[in-house]
């Protein structure tokens, strides 16, 4: 599938929580759009930003770079960012890049909103 990626901002029932569902392949072609959406969400100054990667089938260094930039910006503003990841090869990628130490990674959205 050619560079298909879909982004959906979800309004959380919990105040201060913003959520983004991402689907498809996050690569050098689609990362700029992910970056734009994250910048817009971070501009709302959420206490917690949840990025759901459950339906992401591929992510490369440009996608990871965008997420690292986002977590830095969110934390600089006093909030936090959590990733929801279930795909084994994405978990492996986070581990081999050492980013599993950078991100809070959970396996479902329910855990993501827990304090």
């Amino acid at each position: 599938m050619p560079n298909d990626a879909f982004f959906e901002v979800t309004d959380s029932e919990q105040p201060g929580v913003a959520a983004l569902d991402v689907r498809g392949e996050i690569d050098v072609a689609t990362s700029p759009e992910l970056q734009e959406i994250l910048v817009e969400l971070i501009g709302r100054e959420p206490e917690l930003l949840i990025v759901n990667l459950t339906d992401v089938t591929f992510i490369d260094s440009t996608g990871l770079g965008v997420l690292v930039g986002a977590v830095r910006d969110v934390r600089a503003a006093g909030g936090d960012l959590r990733l929801v990841v279930t795909e084994p090869h994405i978990i492996k990628l986070l581990e081999l890049t050492g980013l599993d130490e950078v991100f809070s990674v959970v396996s479902n959205t329910s855990d993501a909103v827990r304090p």
């Binding site: 560079n3 392949e25 072609a29």
Partner: protein, 151 residues
């Protein structure tokens, strides 16, 4: 006729397989490189995890080439593998015009971070990799050896 590589037994050239792919040096086209990588990895009898690893590694190799910046051009990929399970990929950037900054990639700060991550990914996923410039031509290459599944 045989090819010899230091430390390895001679390989019959009849057992060496080659696939060439040329795509526009455009981020939108990298999915074609990943699809080809997966197909080649399967033909080279890499295991499932290595197929996924090679998809990502080829993507990173192409990103390395894209970061050199071209206004227009091609990425030429040569996949070559043998019956002993060694797969080599060489990517060459073939510009049509003067080098320029690629406008579709993330900003400079994001790019340097991504470049660092890209190196970490390639270090972890492949047995050897590198990039160089020969006579003004940018190349990036990698080597993967087939892992036998333990039963």
């Amino acid at each position: 006729m045989t090819n010899t590589t230091s430390g390895r037994a001679p390989v019959d050239v009849n057992d060496v397989h080659r696939v060439e792919l040329s795509i526009p040096a455009d981020p939108q086209m990298l999915f074609l490189a990943r699809m080809t990588a997966a197909a080649v990895a399967a033909r080279a009898e890499l295991n499932y995890e290595q197929v996924e690893d090679l998809r990502l590694a080829i993507d990173e190799l192409c990103i390395t080439l894209l970061h050199f910046g071209v206004s227009a051009g091609q990425i030429a990929l040569l996949f070559q593998w043998d019956s002993e399970g060694t797969l080599d990929v060489v990517g060459t950037l073939v510009p049509d015009g003067e080098p320029s900054t690629n406008g579709n990639a993330p900003g400079k700060t994001g790019r340097s971070l991504s470049a660092e991550l890209s190196q970490r990914i390639l270090d972890s996923l492949v047995d050897d990799h590198g990039s160089d410039v020969i006579d003004g031509v940018h190349r990036a290459w990698l080597r993967v050896r087939r892992q036998e599944l333990s039963v």
